[in-house]
Amino acid sequence: MRYKRVTLIAGHYGSGKTNIAVNMALDLAKQKDNVAIADLDIINPYYRTLDSRAELEAAGVRLIVSPFANSNLDIPALPQEMYAVVDDLSLNCIIDVGGDDTGAVALGRLAPKLREEDDYDMYLIVNRFRPLTRTAKEVAEVRYEIEAACGLKFTGVINDSNLGADTTAETVLSSVQFGKDCAEATGLPLVATTVESSLMEELAGKVPDLFPMKLQKRPIDL
């Protein structure tokens, strides 16, 4: 994957943004120095980039997170360090945006400088197995809602269609057309299709622009 200075990950609630952001930050750290991941999620107090802290820090990725993330304080707090994203132009940054238009509101403060610098990609994450975005038409609606809320335009679509633990190569293959439909309905290029690393071998050559991902271990498993 090729990255501009800032990569914004946005999309429908529960489409897989945090997972992609963490995996992209790890991928970016292999390509460049001075990499950071900024958690601007003001929607979901559960399941944050902070859950992957050990892995990110081991890879040398700087975490920009609210001091209240993963605490019991249930407020939509943003990290004070978030301005580093637009003030420190040497920083290579992945931004994890909260779900839907409500989550994208948090970007508004950064939008003017990001537009001025014009060195960013903003990706629309789509999963055809999520209940409220199962058609390209619904995805296109979410796209406009998010763009209107944050004042930035998407530059590409990432197909993250998966069924959690039930995901097989078939699941991914059955979503290829959906990815294309979303790209067509939004007029945006399809940048990547995500796939769990273990399925990479099976799908290589069958689906273009695969982006391998490592999933988080669940605390309920031994």
């Binding site: 609630y13 529960g14 107090p45 559960y46 399941y47 019991n72 249930d74 999963n127 197995f129 999520r130 209940p131 409220l132 199962r134 998966n162 069924l163 959690g164 633990a165 039930d166 669940r218 605390p219 309920i220 498993d221 031994l222």
Partner: protein, 425 residues
Amino acid sequence: MAKVTFRTDECKGCGLCIDACPKGILKLSEETINKKGHHPAECADPDACVGCASCALMCPDCIITVEREVERMAEKVLMKGNEAIAEAAIMAGCRHYFGYPITPQTEIAAYMAKRMPKIGGTFLQAESEIAAINMVYGVSSAGKRVMTSSSSPGISLKGEGISYLAGTDLPAVIVNAQRGGPGLGGIQPSQSDYFQATRGGGHGDYHIIVLAPSSVQEMAELTIKAFELADEYLMPAMVLADGTTGQMMEPVSFDFEIKEPPAKPWATTGTKCQRPHNIANSLYLDPEKLECINNVRFARYEVIKDNEQRAEEYLTEDADIVVAAFGISARIAKNAVDAARAKGIKAGLIRPITLWPFPDKAFKKAAEHAKRFISVELSMGQMIEDVRLATECKVPVELCYRVGGMIPSPQQVLEAIEKAAKEVK
């Protein structure tokens, strides 16, 4: 597909619906004259109806019903537990949801806010939990399926209304995605509302049916079951989830049978001068009558205890160590039981699915051969008391727990099983 129907006999032919219809398909019947002597409104082209319900909203006499068909999700979808509850409620025919946001259950309200307007239902964010539960009381009295949801502190607020529902013998579904307490506590998962749920939760002598899902699939299935049981036994039913089961994402299939709701002749739908008044009430002026009503209600509870106990029994037939756990704790405990079996320990799991009625029978059976019970809970030990009661204290019961929003690791449960196995040898 949408369908519009009129209670023709009550129409006064005012024609306001005709003006409101954006498709221009309503008219006053030329041939028919109703009981009141008016030409009633009717739909000239039913296939053209888009189900916008403008006519029903405009009708000053509320005689128009607009029904929209809800598409059933044909294939598996990836959902949060909270979303699965909301979608399942819609499938069960629930078209009224009243709630107030609180982590970790807010996805239920958010989902309902998006879906209800599209299917002709009502989503309302009330000014408080107390207002929400009383709106539930109103809709339930009118004979419609209705749901509310909250998390621990909000459920305490709803306690009064739940008691009123129970005292009026009204069906309703209440979801509690438990978080840490007491007080404001925290937003992380907990199971410390077990006592509150299984003992009723509000004032007075009563119970509610309590169902405990342990997967996203079960969040959907038990929500539908809760509607069915509530209607069958005329009492509130609670889906007792927690922060983890509410927030976790898993594939879920909605491919299951849904029974039609039973007739509700007791509903306060207006007498139309055809029958005596139906009254929804929990106040009794005559103490003897109140005693009698309570006795009748508790006789019904005995029937429920006989008929509705549900539990998953996993490797319990020959188990020396039986782990008792519900909801998310049971997922963890099952992994630990498997690991213990791999080490040659005869461990098993009883997972209560109904917490009220508590599955006594499964525990009594296991107590015949088990040497030790371990209750795994996200509380300081609440269900453990029911395990002791069910087994009549014949076998020692130990507690394995985490609180404060923490969940035990499978390793912690495994260690508890190993320790118990050593002691009973």
